[in-house]
């Protein structure tokens, strides 16, 4: 996977991650929980209200029992559990909510404790309250029984009966509303009963005692119970609930705000993503459009391909023909270049002997009139011999003159010099004729293919041609072996050897050695051209036989020399190999098969 697609994948994952995060943030607020919590809180509130009502009812003795006081506790417990459960997450986050819930729980516990207390107290009080009417009735009945037993009407008994009834009425009233003055009146009556007890027969006194005892309980307990109930009602449960509600609402509002905030971000982010998707979509559409266009073009191209292939093939074959032609031209120009090199070399080689031959002959020619003069003088002698004596003197003078002239010639070494000059000229002419012979050997323009040719002789002619390049610079060491005569095209193979030898001398910078070795094995005649020049760098060695490859400046070489050499050797059924070491030298080996079958047709092309 490429780095780019990896980055794209990462980017996509990050974008989806952000989306998921924002969504979670928005979804984190559970509305159902919220409703349950508010509902629970409301239930709490109403339960508490009803409960207080029941407590008050109990207080006013409107209810027959105190179930109303205790029974809501069960419901309350379950509500409390539910609330605590629902709020548990929020409590962790919000300290004020925790405080309010804690204080609420504390209040509930408190209320519970107080209700237990109330239950205990109310049992005794209720018992006395229920029994007081019976006790008063028993007393009155007993008083009436006692009155019937006595004939005489006892006013004390009547008073007791009335007072007891009043007390009962007052007690019931007190139970309804615990007024202090009523309590004082009841207390006075009870004290009065206590004091009057001894005045009555025992049976009445006992009954009275019972009334007093229960009445005292009612009187004493009633305010206590009332206070307890007031305390219960007064417990700050409602406010606690309200507090919870408030703090919860604050927390919820906070969350709601957060949610709104994240929601906004989510919207923005989602819009961004949508835009991006839209952009990608747009680009995709464009790409599709382009693809469609290209597709159409391709279809068209496909349809016209056949025609174009035909056309191209035609063009290519034309180009190939042109290339072939220009290659032939290049080969021709390379041949001309090597020919030029050869001509220049030969011209210079011939120039020097020509110069001294010319000068020498000119010098001899200059002296010739003088020598001819001498001969003419001699020619006169026979006539002088026959002349009169007077003229004998002339003969003598003539002989002396000739003698002097000859002596002068001899003294000045002129005769020797003439000899030397003519000998020099002859050797110069020999040199020139050698050169011409080498030239002939080299090119063998008169013969296309030579049977039984000595390759060593061919190499010698190449050396003469190349002498201009080699002289003053390169020492040529010849190590010729016995070679069987082979048949080859001298003008072509000699061109190969000239190329190799000139290259070798160019590889030598100041002075060096070229070693020419020839040796034969069973199948091949090998010519090894070895120099101690600068060598061929390894990186260009594989390219040296490529056409147009040259290290020379533009215009200085065609880059065809070695490639043509390669081709020529190949056409002779031979091979050419190279070994080179930088700064040590280069060694070219040309191997020509002894019995070969030349591809004459190809040879024509190369030639």
């Amino acid at each position: 996977m490429s780095l780019r697609s990896l980055t794209n994948l990462m980017l996509g994952l990050i974008m989806i991650g952000i989306l998921v995060f924002l969504y979670t943030k928005v979804q984190s607020l559970n509305v159902e929980d919220h409703y349950q919590i508010t509902d629970t809180l409301r239930q709490h509130s109403s339960l508490n209200f009803r409960w207080n009502e029941d407590v008050l009812k109990t207080k006013l003795s409107l209810s027959s029992n105190y179930d109303g006081v205790t029974s809501p506790l069960v419901t309350l417990r379950s509500l409390q559990t539910k609330l605590t459960d629902k709020l548990s997450n929020l409590i962790v986050e919000s300290a004020p909510l925790k405080a309010s819930v804690d204080s609420y729980n504390k209040s509930i516990e408190e209320k519970n404790k107080l209700i237990e207390q109330f239950k205990g107290q109310n049992a005794i009080f209720d018992n006395s309250l229920r029994y007081i009417s019976t006790a008063v009735d028993d007393l009155i009945t007993e008083v009436e029984v006692q009155s019937a037993n006595t004939t005489k009407s006892n006013p004390a008994f009547v008073a007791l009966k009335n007072t007891a009834q009043t007390l009962l009425r007052e007690l019931l009233e007190y139970n309804q509303v615990a007024q202090t003055d009523l309590a004082g009146s009841i207390n006075k009556r009870l004290i009065a009963f206590e004091n009057q007890k001894i005045l009555y027969p025992d049976i009445i006194s006992n009954k009275l005692d019972t009334v007093i005892r229960h009445a005292s309980v009612i009187l004493k307990r009633k305010p206590e119970i009332d206070a307890l109930l007031a305390t219960i009602v007064g417990l700050p449960i409602a406010s606690s609930i309200e507090n919870i509600e408030n703090t919860y609402t604050a927390v919820y509002d906070g969350r709601l705000r957060d949610k709104d905030f994240y929601f906004t971000i989510l919207i923005a982010y989602a819009s961004g993503l949508l835009f991006l998707i839209a952009l990608i979509g747009y680009r995709l559409r464009n790409s599709y459009r382009e693809l469609n266009v290209v597709n159409k073009q391709l279809t068209v191209a496909n349809e016209t391909l056949e025609d174009r292939v035909v056309q191209r093939t035609k063009e290519l074959s034309n180009a190939y023909n042109e290339l072939k032609q220009s290659q032939a031209q290049l080969i021709q120009s390379e041949k001309m270049a090597s020919l030029g090199q050869m001509v220049a070399g030969v011209a210079h080689e011939i120039n020097t002997p020509l110069a001294y031959c010319h000068s020498n002959i000119d010098l001899v020619k200059e002296q010739l009139p003088e020598i001819i003069g001498l001969f003419k003088e001699f020619a006169n002698f026979p006539s002088l011999l026959d002349a009169p004596t007077a003229e004998q003197q002339n003969l003598k003078e003539g002989i002396v003159t000739i003698q002097d002239a000859i002596l002068t010639f001899e003294r000045e070494g002129s005769f020797d010099e003439i000899n030397l000059l003519l000998e020099g000229s002859l050797s110069g002419l020999d040199q020139i004729s050698d050169m011409v012979k080498s030239l002939k050997d080299f090119s063998r323009l008169d013969q296309h293919k030579v049977e039984n040719f000595d390759l060593n002789r061919g190499l010698d002619s190449v050396l003469v041609i190349a002498n201009n390049v080699l002289k003053n610079k390169v020492e040529v060491i010849k190590e010729y072996g016995q070679l069987p005569k082979i048949s080859y095209s001298p003008s072509q193979l000699n061109q190969v050897f000239l190329n190799l030898i000139v290259n070798a001398s160019q590889a030598i910078e100041n002075s060096g050695i070229i070693r020419l070795r020839t040796l034969a094995d069973h199948h091949f005649v090998n010519v090894i051209v070895e120099d101690n020049g600068k060598g061929i760098p390894e990186d260009i060695l594989p390219r040296i036989f490529d056409p147009f490859f040259t290290t020379k400046e533009i215009g200085k070489g065609t880059g065809l020399g070695l490639s043509i050499a390669y081709k020529i050797v190949q056409q002779h059924g031979g091979k050419i190999t190279v070994h080179s070491e930088v700064n040590k030298g280069t060694q070219f080996t040309v191997s020509i098969p002894i019995s070969q079958r030349m591809d004459l047709q190809n040879l024509e092309v190369a030639a």
């Binding site: 120039n351 001294y356 000068s359 010098l363 000045e412 020099g424 050797s427 003053n472």
Partner: protein
Amino acid sequence: MNKKEKVLCVDDEIQILISLRALLRSKYEILIATSGEEALEILRKEPSIRVLISDQRMPKMLGAELLREAKKVAPGTMRLLLTGYSDLQSIIDSINEGEVFRFINKPWNNQEIRFIVDLAVNVAIETEQAAGSMADESLTHPTQEESFDLVQGQLDQQETAASTIATSDHQPSKEATRTAGIMVVDDDEGVASTLMEILNNTVPVYKAKTINEAIDLLSNQQISVIISETLVDSEDATEFIKILKQNYPSIITIILTQYHSADTMISLINQGQIYRYSYKPIQKNQLSYYIRSALTRHGTNLRKPELLKRHQVEEIKDVKNPSLVGKLIGGLKSLRSKMGF
């Protein structure tokens, strides 16, 4: 019998030496050497050698190198070079470093070679005294900055020389005391601007874009050195250079060209005695050095007018443009009278 003057012939081909000796020995004492090293050895031992004839192509030391060394060892010896098939660079080297008197083409004409050697021997004898003063021209290239100072120094020298002439000469001229200028004959502006950069206003530079302009300038201004292209405004300038040298040998000529031909160079030496030959693109350091050395040579020539004989030229053969010759000679006559020659 008078003692024969000495001529040294150098060639690795013994037959050439035999021929040359046969050719010249009746008039001169011929010494021979088959290598440059041997020739230098002889020159050191025999300072009275008048003429050195050397082949160009020899093993180890080329003719151009021998000429350069010979100029140091024996400045009075006239130097001739035998050339057959030579590359351009060796010809340029023998002009610039060897200060060759004549190139002799192989195969040569015996009469011509005798004539040249006679001339060279005579010049060498006549200038024997003065030639010593040319030896002090250093051949080492100075640095750029040095060369400016040197140019200035040579100018002072030149003026001193000019004033010496003014007092001693039979026809004193007011013009002679004025600083002579350098004329650039080239339709390429680059040469003149490079030259002005090099000279930095120490020497007047005159520009001639055609040969006619050059002739006009020559009649109106004092010119010590000419830097010329060989082809100016599609006109062959070599003839102008040759005629100028023939008629007014004291002007030093430097060729700065983009056209190279061995034949042109050889004829410019033989018939034009050009001082230096350089090719474009301009090498500023080299040009600066050539200018400096040309001004020195001009100064030396003013002090020792006999040295001008060392730059005698051949008759110009095959004049292609006779009207130019007439015009030139006309223009140069006024110049001559001005210069007091």
